[in-house]
């Protein structure tokens, strides 16, 4: 189902209802405050004897209004902000769920940074509009409506005088917001330019120093810095002049009201009220003050109009981006009659498999056919780009392949439930990616129920137990940016333990011991022979030593099978393998 923001709003409609109701209550209460000033002024001007009594009554009412205002404002914020924050979290969660279901192709085609910005700034734009946008919009609507009605009730003529410049304020405010946000962007662009320039210079400082371009670079920097200063000044100049203009509009309005209003009060006091079109303007000092108070409450909503529109346009573009992400097609899906892979024996047949990555027209794999017997341990060798990792990617169904080209236990890979397929494969990736978490959790990644014994057994399998215990926090040691930096070899071995603990019928190691020393490699290989005996194991390697004692070795060349045979036979039939063996010997002599 396609979800739009209104879907999420409906989910929290009660919070919105409460918040908007509270907001309206605040708006109504707020317009009472100016009436008190007027009443007090009139009481004083009449100078009645029980003024203090009357005032204390008013004071109690005013305090009550103040209490209502406080409660209403708090309730409004709590309800509406809570709703918008819930929507924000909800959308972000739906996005993450989507991200989990998107294929590797999607991640190759889109930069992480871009996806991240949808998760942060775009979701925040929705939060801003549903939260503050609602508050401001309700305010603008009701506060101005109520004030206006009360003003009209008092005097139509004065209202007309007050509202005319106010209309200017709406138009002006709108224009200002538009221009200012353009200028703000311009200013931001200049800052980014300064930032990028500085970053580029410092990153390329070797070149700058090599060619003695420091002085010239400084000159170029000065120019960028100057442009930056200029755009800042331009922004500041506009911003302050717009403020000044808004103040002037307000000033003119108040001056007109004060001047004309005073004149009307004067005429009223002479019992000769000012008359226009048969309309007599009857005015007292207190009422004039109240009126000016109303006008005062009108100012903010007028200015807010422009802000709301800006917010709305940000909201529109951001929500478009989010919808398009949420609507992305999930390519890697179970086929209609997909079945579970149960009691997997580990027989794998490649049957004329050819594969080209979506964005390329070169076949990474070309007509690959071979058969791995149940429980066999095979090696895969070949130069960079010969298709080793692509072979694994197809087997893990990270990409869709043609039907019938890979069979596991004689079932078409495309007909196996993806979850069940992957459950049956223990995989050690080439990039030895670890999550920033403690080592224990990294190893038990696939089996959170694993006991400490299981975890240590897996670590011993990967010959990394001793290393882990040597850390001051042992298995609790956190890896990654915020924790300890592990060596490439340590990471690889933890990745091996992470796969091993799955105890899966098929294990795939994609060049997973390249960074460990010979002795450790030997230990790990011995563990593999012993512990994974009789279970299908595929070891991709760049060194011959890694695969020399396996049952059979697949030699790939330019995406094709060069040979698939026992190590002894390969020496005779595979030139690539023979060359690798020779170089390896040479290296060990160095």
């Amino acid at each position: 189902m396609k979800k739009t923001v209104s879907y999420y709003v409906k989910k929290y409609i009660w919070l919105f209802a409460i918040g908007i109701a509270a907001d309206i209550m605040v708006d109504l209460a707020q317009t009472y405050v100016p009436e008190f000033l007027g009443a007090i002024v009139d009481i004083v001007s009449i100078g009645s004897d029980n003024a203090l009594m009357e005032v204390s009554g008013l004071m109690k009412k005013l305090l009550l209004i103040a209490l209502i205002l406080m409660a209403g404002r708090a309730l409004m914020r709590f309800a509406l902000m809570s709703a918008s924050q819930r929507i924000e979290a909800h959308i972000r969660h739906d996005m993450f769920r989507k991200a989990e279901r998107l294929s590797q192709r999607y991640y190759h085609e889109n930069k992480i940074g871009t996806i991240m910005s949808w998760f942060s700034s775009d979701v925040e734009a929705i939060e801003e509009f549903t939260g503050w946008g609602t508050i401001m919009f309700t305010d603008a609507l009701f506060l101005s409506a109520v004030s206006l009605i009360k003003m009209l009730k008092m005097d139509v003529l004065l209202s007309a005088i007050a509202v005319t410049p106010m209309l200017g304020l709406i138009i002006w405010g709108n224009r200002v917001e538009k221009i200012m946000s353009d200028k703000w962007e311009e200013r931001q662009k200049q800052f980014d330019r300064l930032y990028d320039f500085t970053q580029e210079t410092f990153t390329g400082i070797r070149v700058i120093k090599a060619f003695v371009k420091e002085a010239q670079e400084l000159k170029a920097f000065s120019k960028v810095a100057k442009d930056n200063a200029d755009s800042n000044l331009e922004f500041a100049r506009l911003s302050i002049s717009f403020d000044v203009w808004i103040e002037m509009i307000i000033g003119v309005t108040i001056t007109l009201l004060l001047g004309l209003g005073s004149y009307f009060v004067y005429r009223t006091s002479l019992n000769n009220p000012f008359i226009l079109f048969d309309h007599a303007v009857v005015m007292t000092v207190g009422r004039l003050m109240t009126f000016i108070g109303y006008v005062d409450t009108l100012i903010w909503p007028m200015i807010a109009m422009g802000q709301i529109m800006q917010m709305h346009s940000r909201f529109r573009t951001s929500s478009q981006r989010i919808y398009s992400f949420l609507d992305q097609e999930e390519e890697i899906r179970d086929s209609e009659n997909a079945i579970e892979l149960t009691d997997c024996k580990g027989k794998i047949v490649f049957n004329h498999l050819s594969f080209a990555y979506p964005d390329s027209d070169i076949h990474s794999l070309n007509d690959i056919s071979f058969e791995i017997k149940p429980g066999e341990m095979i090696g895969v060798v070949g130069k960079i780009g010969s298709g080793k990792s692509t072979l694994v990617n197809s087997l893990l169904r990270l990409y869709n392949i043609e039907r019938g080209t890979i069979m596991i236990d004689d079932i078409d890979l495309m007909d196996i439930k993806i979850k069940s397929l992957r459950d049956n494969i223990a995989y050690v990736p080439q990039d030895n990616f670890l999550f920033s978490d403690n080592i224990k959790n990294n190893i038990s990644f696939a089996r959170s129920s694993a006991s400490m014994n299981d975890i240590r057994a897996a670590a011993r399998f990967a010959d990394v137990d001793d290393n882990i215990l040597a850390f001051s926090e042992g298995y609790e040691t956190v890896t990654g940016e915020r924790g300890v930096t592990l060596s490439g070899g340590q990471k690889q071995r933890i990745a091996i333990a992470r796969a091993y603990i799955k105890d899966a019928p098929i294990m795939i190691m994609d060049d997973s011991v390249s960074a460990v020393d010979m002795k450790t490699e030997e230990t790990i290989l011995n563990n593999i022979y012993e512990k994974r005996k009789g279970r299908t194991t595929i070891i991709i390697a760049s060194r011959v030593s890694t695969v020399a004692h396996l049952d059979r070795i697949l030699v790939l060349k330019d995406g094709k099978v060069e040979a698939f045979d026992t190590p002894e036979n390969l020496l005779k039939i595979s030139p690539t393998y023979e060359r690798m063996v020779y170089l390896q010997k040479l290296e060990s002599e160095l």
Partner: protein, 586 residues
């Protein structure tokens, strides 16, 4: 910005007095504008504070039995005039402040930029580029804001509070006195609030950065999650962080949702109190109106003061960080009597050179060799043998610990760094490309090169063929640091870049990456030609480069183990022979 992450090694606390006095030095040049804007600011505060008096007076006049309408209209007019003048002053004042502020930032940025540029590569390696960039771009703005923003605002708010209170006191001492309690309450509440909210914001930022770290890691490692069927677990972890952020956001809402309404209540309550007491103390209608108007002028600055203290703290930290950076002295500098050499013959000699990037971890151990002018010398050896280090020592990117390096029999420490580097054309392994066009990257934005010269250089190094195939030729834009060019093409560009700058010594660190055959041939030809330019030192990864070298120096663990030409070394059947087979016959 995350202040903790931006910290550099060697940052230390400076006494407040030092920070202030050093910062003051930067505004010395702006003294005139500063004083002028302060005067305007004071006038501003005064004019702003007297305007309610007019409304008050008008009210009083309107209450009288015989209304003097002339006087009232005059007063209305005068108050309008004052407002206009006030706005004019405000405009001028902020313009002056902005201009001098921007001038300060501009000068400060130039100074820091130049300072950083002059640091040695060793110093560069110790400082993350991101932090340096922040100091040039953001911290400079914060530091200038100290005088042109923060202090000015504090001054304005403070004088407004004092001024407004003084007028209120003048109107009615007793009523003002009663209001004092409210003033203090608002200030205390605001102070507590700003402390609390600072902490809440900090936690919110931490939650955001936590969630973002999780997201970027998990988007990057999504393959693993999918392969290991851990979508559910990751989803739970995400929800936890997502929810934590939501709750923290709500804490912000709670803080503001209590504070703002509370202040508005106090404000309204004080209006009520002021009405009641106003009548009790027998104030006139106008005086009550005046109090009503002044109260609103009063509340904003008190609320702001607490926030301003936080800004002040930020500005001071920024200044401190900038001074810390400026206090780092560049460690590779010209000697005072360093000599200038127009042209080198190109003899290069290492005499018992020992070098370590970090103490005692010797990269080069007692290395000695001589390269005659015009010769080509190739350095070979395993990764980490010290080949690249030798090349960077010749141009004094680092200082050697023991021994000496001589060019034309002069110790390089006695030669001006600039002329030394100008003489040595360096072609580094990863070709760094700047944003801009191909042309910009050849000339390095030096406009004194003619199009002819650029063309010649391109032809000389065989870069013309691929450049001509680009739609815009040399004016083609470099995209994403050179993603639109192949590794080999980038090498050719760096050759052109070097050749056009007319060096007498060529230093080349060959790229190890795979280069397509067509470009490979172009590179080889071009290298052959470049040999005739002058002395050439190459960290070689290419067989042809080595074969044609006059001298090959074989390094192992920072020591020279063999030297000679290709044939002689092969005959030796030693280390070189094996290395050769491993690296070049594959």
């Amino acid at each position: 910005m995350n202040e903790e992450l931006e910290k550099l090694k060697g940052d230390r606390k400076l006494p407040l007095s030092v920070i202030i006095s050093r910062t003051l030095r930067y505004i010395k040049d702006e003294k005139g504008s500063f004083v002028l804007s302060l005067v305007l600011l004071m006038l501003n505060v005064v004019l702003d504070s007297v305007t309610p008096l007019f409304t008050s007076k008008i009210t009083d006049l309107l209450v009288e039995d015989n209304i003097n309408i002339r006087l009232i209209l005059d007063l209305v007019f005068v108050s309008f005039a004052i407002m206009c003048i006030n706005q004019l002053f405000l405009y001028i004042e902020s313009q002056i402040l902005q201009k001098s502020g921007q001038r300060i930032i501009y000068r400060l940025r130039n100074e820091i930029f130049e300072h950083i540029e002059n640091m040695s590569l060793n110093q560069f390696n110790e400082m993350p580029v991101g932090s340096l960039v922040t100091r040039v771009t953001s911290y400079t703005a914060s530091m200038s804001d100290l005088f042109t923003g923060v202090l000015v605002r504090i001054l304005r708010d403070f004088t407004t509070i004092v001024g407004v209170y003084a007028i209120m006191f003048y109107i009615s001492p007793s009523l003002s006195f009663s209001m004092l309690g409210i003033v203090v309450t608002v200030f205390v509440i605001s102070y507590i609030f700003s402390k609390t909210v600072k902490e809440i914001f900090r936690k919110e930022r931490a939650c955001i950065s936590d969630l973002n770290t999780f997201l970027s890691e998990n988007l990057a490692g999504m393959k693993l999650t999918q392969v290991f069927n851990q979508e559910e677990t990751k989803d739970e972890q995400f929800c936890e962080k997502n929810d934590k952020l939501r709750k923290q956001r709500f804490n912000v809402t709670k803080a503001f949702g209590v504070y703002r309404p509370l202040i508005s209540f106090i404000y309204n309550a004080s209006i009520a109190l002021c009405f009641y007491l106003g009548i009790r103390y027998g104030l006139s209608a106008g005086e009550i109106v005046a109090f009503y108007l002044y109260l609103s002028k009063f509340f904003n600055p008190i609320q702001n003061l607490a926030d301003q203290l936080n800004s002040l703290q930020r500005a001071l930290t920024a200044s401190e960080r900038i001074f810390n950076l400026l206090d780092v002295k560049p460690d590779v500098l010209d000697k005072e009597d360093a000599i200038y050499i127009e042209k080198f013959k190109g003899k290069i000699e290492f005499r018992n050179v020992w070098f370590a990037y970090k103490e005692d971890n010797w990269i080069l151990k007692d290395v000695s060799f001589v390269i005659e002018p015009g010769d080509t010398c190739a350095f070979v050896g395993a990764t980490g043998a010290g080949k690249t280090t030798i090349l960077s020592l010749i141009v004094r990117n680092y200082e050697v610990q023991k021994g000496e390096i001589l060019i034309d029999d002069i110790n390089i420490n006695d030669i001006q760094i600039a002329c030394l580097r100008r003489a040595a054309g360096q072609m580094l392994q990863d070709v760094f490309l700047f944003s801009g066009t191909i042309k910009d990257n050849i000339t390095l934005y030096d406009e004194s090169f003619t199009d002819e010269e650029i063309r010649e250089a391109c032809i000389y190094v065989n870069a013309d063929s691929f450049i001509d195939r680009l739609p815009k030729g040399v004016d083609e834009e470099i995209i994403e640091k050179g993603e639109n060019l192949s590794q080999g093409q980038r090498q050719l560009l760096s050759f052109a870049r070097t050749v056009i700058h007319r060096p007498q010594i060529l230093i080349l660190d060959e790229a190890t990456a795979n280069i397509d055959t067509e470009t490979e041939v172009l590179i080889q030809e071009s290298l052959e030609k470049m040999k005739s330019i002058g002395t050439m030192l190459v960290v070689a990864h290419r067989l042809s480069t080595i074969q044609h070298a006059d001298q090959i120096i074989v390094l192992q663990n920072g020591e020279i183990v063999e030297r000679g030409d290709h044939q002689a070394l092969l005959k030796n059947r030693g280390y070189y022979y094996k290395l050769y087979q491993l690296q070049f016959e594959n």
